[in-house]
Amino acid sequence: MDSVDVSLKSEAFSDLDWEKIRADFPILKLKIDGKPLIYLDNAASSQMPQQVIDRLVRYQTTQHANINRAVHYLSEVATMEYHKARCRLQQFINAREDREIIFTSGTTDSINLVMHGYGRKFIKAGDEIILTTLEHHSNIVPWQMLANEKGAKIRVVPINDKGELEVDEYEKLFNERTKFVGLIHVSNALGTINPIKRMIDFAHQHGVPVLIDGAQAAPHIIVDVQALDCDFYAFSAHKLCGPTGVGILYGKAALLEAMQPFKGGGDMIASVSFEKTTYNTIPHKFEAGTPPIAAAIGFGAAIDYLMAIGIKSIAAYELALLDYATECLNEIPGVRIIGTAAEKTAVISFTIDGIHPHDIGTILNQDGIAVRTGHHCAQPVMQRFKVPATSRASFAFYNRKTEVDALIAGIKTVQKVFL
């Protein structure tokens, strides 16, 4: 599924009891200097509902021990709960098998795992890796490191003025040296939803595997890795109402089995002697050391929470917020929205004439409004639009329409300060 279903859009605000859902998030009751917190930095990290917090507390108070080791009660419980979390993630993205889900420390770690495990084994001098202008630094830098080490070459897919990938140009980049594609599903800086299904199919026609950075997509779009047929898919828990420090890498079992381990240590081995180590089977081969057990279990609880609401409903509600916010922002003179793709998630990057994004962020903060300002770890995107930085408001399903109004009022205050 490349796009979200927009047919529900008009009724989205009344579809579910969103106020009741919002009440699940204790942090949203915070006041910043006496003003209610208006949290519009969800693309950086989302907030955690009480249900997930409670799950973490229950784990730490009644279930914690190290996993895959001892025969005692707690170890068995923790091992089982950790495995259940893996199975929840498998269901969430419709992976064929649970062993195709590797717990990592997050999206960046997942991408580095593929670079070390796949890239360092299979990419050779003269080979080409295709990336896009929209990539987050985390899907650029590891491949540059590999390219430098191996003498491989990075080719970059350009974007148009709306912030959409030029897919025709992507297709022209393929040749017999193309060995890997790294592709962001949804741009963190602009919100553009990329036509990844078409791009994956094209790469596969050339026998090239594709890694999808799904950090910004998984919270907002139904991801079906079998339908997409992607080779790797990576995302983090903390953008999905889960804890920091954990994420997953999905990989097709055959590929994961062919790869070399990334980190060495306990749990990733079948047997060790000083002469020879035999590696464990997947997923354990890639989970050296004690994993973030509590965080992974919290991740599972966050997935339960989101699936109970439904990603489809979430997407429809957020799109309604996006449309409303876009409309309001377009009416303010001097405000320019960067990234106007036809298919977007609820992310709005914008600039205000003559005012630096950091000043915008600081003054909005005065009204309790949290937005992200800066280059969003996507400097090639900033360079493409010839801006050093932008301000970015990113919405979640617990945001209100009145919070969009507060943002608009805040932007007008910023303009007044600099008048």
């Binding site: 994004p357 800066g374 050093p388």
Partner: protein, 159 residues
């Protein structure tokens, strides 16, 4: 409110009409300052003769805090000795990081308008970048960075 006092008329005035903005054609010292966290960039050129700053200019892409700090800094050090400038650099850093007691004697004058920045840790670097770059220029270091406090160890040539 911290932010209100920070964006006072004087800072906004320096942001709108920065003093000593541009690049000196004949500079004895030059440095470029970067804040890699926000991509801000500041270029400082100055003429130092007999340990006196005869002229100084700055240009670059930056936020209002950084630009106003640079503007007021150039106005404050122009015509002063290197030693005076170094004292101001030290005092301004202490001010921005909340270590300076402004009730005790100091040389900052109107620059104390930046005292509120200490309550905004993410913005301290914006205010300090020009001073950091000035110090690098005085020490003939081409590149300064808010992420490298040991810029004095770097070596480069004088212009």
């Amino acid at each position: 409110m911290v932010t209100k006092s920070l964006y006072q008329e004087v800072i906004l005035d320096h942001n709108r009409k920065p003093r000593n903005y541009g690049k000196l054609d004949y500079a004895s010292h030059h440095a470029v300052g970067h804040n890699p966290l926000c991509g801000d960039r500041l270029d400082i050129t100055l003429q130092l003769e007999n340990d006196q700053i005869n002229n100084i200019a700055f240009e670059g892409e930056s936020c209002a805090i950084c630009k106003a700090s640079a503007s007021m800094m150039t106005a404050a050090v122009k015509g002063r000795s290197r030693l005076d400038a170094e004292i101001l650099i030290h005092e301004f850093r202490e001010l921005a990081t909340g270590k300076l007691d402004i009730d005790h004697p100091h040389h900052l004058g109107r620059l104390t308008i930046f005292s509120g920045i200490r309550d905004l840790p993410t913005r301290v670097k914006c205010a300090i970048l020009p001073w950091h770059t000035l110090q690098a220029a005085l020490n003939s270091i081409d590149n300064a960075s808010t992420e490298n406090n040991d810029s004095a160890q770097a070596v480069s040539s004088k212009l």
